[in-house]
């Protein structure tokens, strides 16, 4: 289990700087490669899980993405940040998987039960925490019903904390369109949550 903190890529970093690590990994330094893998595999896996909804597929995609990440390391500009670049690879791998299964991104909704089963509940649960965890489950359930475009932009911004700039890079869209697309997705999510709430009532 990994909490939110270790998932955050810190560009200023407490340990070694990211570009130094990339340079070392490129020079064939095994330790640097291992450090990169341990730092970036968890967020890559979680992104894959959030897109695909199931653990086995997410692990497959992550393995493929990490492999691709290391084989393309030489063409990577070390001034760029690793996370958006790796996320671009993960996203492509996810799309490849959908294509192999002959599904269009539009109808590749992850299974909501399977996705929320991977949520970690807070250890100590006073009532307030329980209510919050319930809301989290509802939100991920609703996210699973969105289109993959809407889901990915919300996940990249609100879970992985990517800047608008990084989101534009990962999705391959102009930065000027990020805000309106994100807002549209958030509105849709809110609508789904309201629908869900009405069902419960």
């Amino acid at each position: 289990m990994v909490g939110r903190q270790p998932l955050m890529a810190s560009p200023d970093g407490t340990g070694e700087s990211e570009s130094a690590l990339v340079d070392q990994a490129r020079a064939g330094h095994t330790g640097a490669r291992e450090t990169l893998a341990q730092r970036y595999r968890p967020p890559a896996y979680v992104l894959a899980l959030q897109m695909l909804g199931n653990r086995d597929d997410a692990m497959d995609v992550t393995q493929d993405a990490m492999l691709r990440f290391f084989t393309t390391l030489n063409s990577f500009d070390s001034e760029r940040r690793v996370q958006p670049w790796l996320f671009t690879i993960v996203r492509n791998q996810v799309r490849d998987l959908w294509r192999r299964r002959r599904r269009r991104p539009g109808d590749s909704a992850p299974d909501a039960d399977s996705l929320t089963s991977q949520l970690v509940s807070p250890a100590a649960s006073p009532e307030a925490d329980l209510r919050r965890q319930q809301l989290r489950e509802e939100v991920w359930r609703a996210l699973a019903t969105l289109s993959s475009e809407q889901r990915e932009i919300i996940v990249l911004r609100d879970f992985h904390d990517l800047s608008y700039n990084d989101i534009a890079q990962v999705l391959g869209i102009p930065i000027g369109t990020v805000m309106s697309r994100l807002h549209g997705a958030r509105r849709q999510l809110r609508a789904r949550l309201e629908e869900g709430g009405r069902h419960h009532a």
């Binding site: 497959d60 991977q118 989290r136 309106s180 807002h183």
Partner: protein
Amino acid sequence: MPDACGRTFDEAFLSGYLDQALVQGDEQRVRVHLEDCVSCRALLEELASVRDATMSSTFDIPRNDEWSEAPRSGASRLLRGLGWRLMTAWIVVMIGFGLWETWQDADNLFERLLLVGGVSGVSLLLISVFLDRRQAMKTDRYGEVRK
């Protein structure tokens, strides 16, 4: 929703405001409007609470050793599946061939009876195991449906 609220900016700016991604002038414009507009404030609060739920979620991730056990790629996973199937087919063929040879080589009725008895015993055992597995799979599937 906030149709007649009189804001002079696109509603998407509320998301930009939430993400602190607006340039200073826009940020100020939104802030000033929010002071007077209840409906935009309400929408912003809702968006913020949903975002907080997403942001504060934690997912279970595989342990380090689980990564080394998993097949490295889709291709190796495919090959592994193929390998298992080929090996099973090979074992079945070899056993069948062995039994056939033994049958041919048997000198008398007693040896043949021994062979038939042995094969029937093993087959019955296998069939019973198979029936149990099928039953288990069926009940599992019903369990899934009931949810």
